[in-house]
Amino acid sequence: MATDDEFEFELDLKNRNVAALLAWLVPGVGHLYQGRTSKGIVIFLSISLLFITGLQMSGGKAVYCSFRNPDLRWQFVGQFFVGSASVPAIIQNRVVRGQEKKLGVVIKPLFGGKFAPPTSTERLQWHEDYHAYFQMGTLYTLVAGLLNLFAIFDAYCGPFVLFRELATKEDESKEDESNL
C-alpha cells in the first residue's frame, strides 16, 4: 500500500522494463499494460493530439532527423521520445544521409519523402511556406516527446510524488540502520 497525498491506493507496476518500452513505443500503452487504464487513455489522447496538432501546423514537416551541419536538428532528440512515430524519421535519415555518405550521390527518400531530412533548398522553402508555423509545429512535437518522457518515467517508477516519498523513506531507514 502506498500513499499519494491524502489518498491511499495499490500500485502494481508489473514488469517495469516492458512497461517503459511500451510507453515509449505508443504513449499511454505502458500504463494500459499496468492496468492504469484511465491514465493510459488520457496520456495517449493528450500526447497524440499535441503531436498531430504540431504535424498539422507544419504540413507534416516538423519531424525529421538530421545531425549534419548546417541542419543540426537538435529538436529531434525531444521528438524521439514520442516513440514509434519518430522511427520513420530515423529510417529516412539512415536511407538518405547514410547512402549519401557511402555513395556520394543524392538518394530519393522512402514513403514519398515523408519524415525525410530536407535538402537546404527544401528547408528554405518550408520556412517560406509555413513561416512561424514550422517553428511552432516543431515546438508542439518537441513538447509531445518531452511529455512522453515524463510518462515513460511514470510507467517505470510510478508517479513522481510517490517516487520521491518512497526514496525519502528509504534514505531515512538507511540512516536509522547506520545509527544503530
Binding site: 489518498f7 484511465s38 496538432t53 501546423m57 508542439y140 515524463f150 511514470d154 513522481f160 510524488v161
Partner: protein
C-alpha cells in the same frame, strides 16, 4: 455557440484558413495536454491529478499572458 464550434473545426483546415484571434485556438491543445499529462505523471488519483492540472494550466496561461504583454510592449518600440 455555432460560431465557437466552427472556430474549433477550422483548426483542422490549417493555419492558412485561420485569421487573427482564431489562431489562439492552437494554444488550447498545448495548455490542456501539457497540464493533464504533467499532473497525471505526478499523482495517481484523479481528484489530485485534476487539481494539479488546473494549477499548472493556470500557471501556463499566466506565463503566456506575461510573454504576450512583453511582446506587445516591445512591438511599440519597433
Amino acid at each position: 455557440m455555432i460560431n465557437f464550434l466552427s472556430s474549433l473545426l477550422i483548426i483542422g483546415a490549417g493555419p492558412e484558413a485561420m485569421s487573427g484571434w482564431e489562431r489562439l485556438f492552437f494554444l488550447l491543445p498545448l495548455i490542456v495536454c501539457t497540464s493533464l499529462v504533467y499532473g497525471a505523471t505526478r499523482h495517481e488519483n484523479w481528484p489530485v491529478i485534476t487539481v494539479e492540472a488546473v494549477k499548472i494550466g493556470t500557471w501556463l496561461v499566466g506565463l503566456t499572458a506575461c510573454v504576450f504583454v512583453v511582446a506587445l510592449l516591445l512591438s511599440f518600440f519597433n
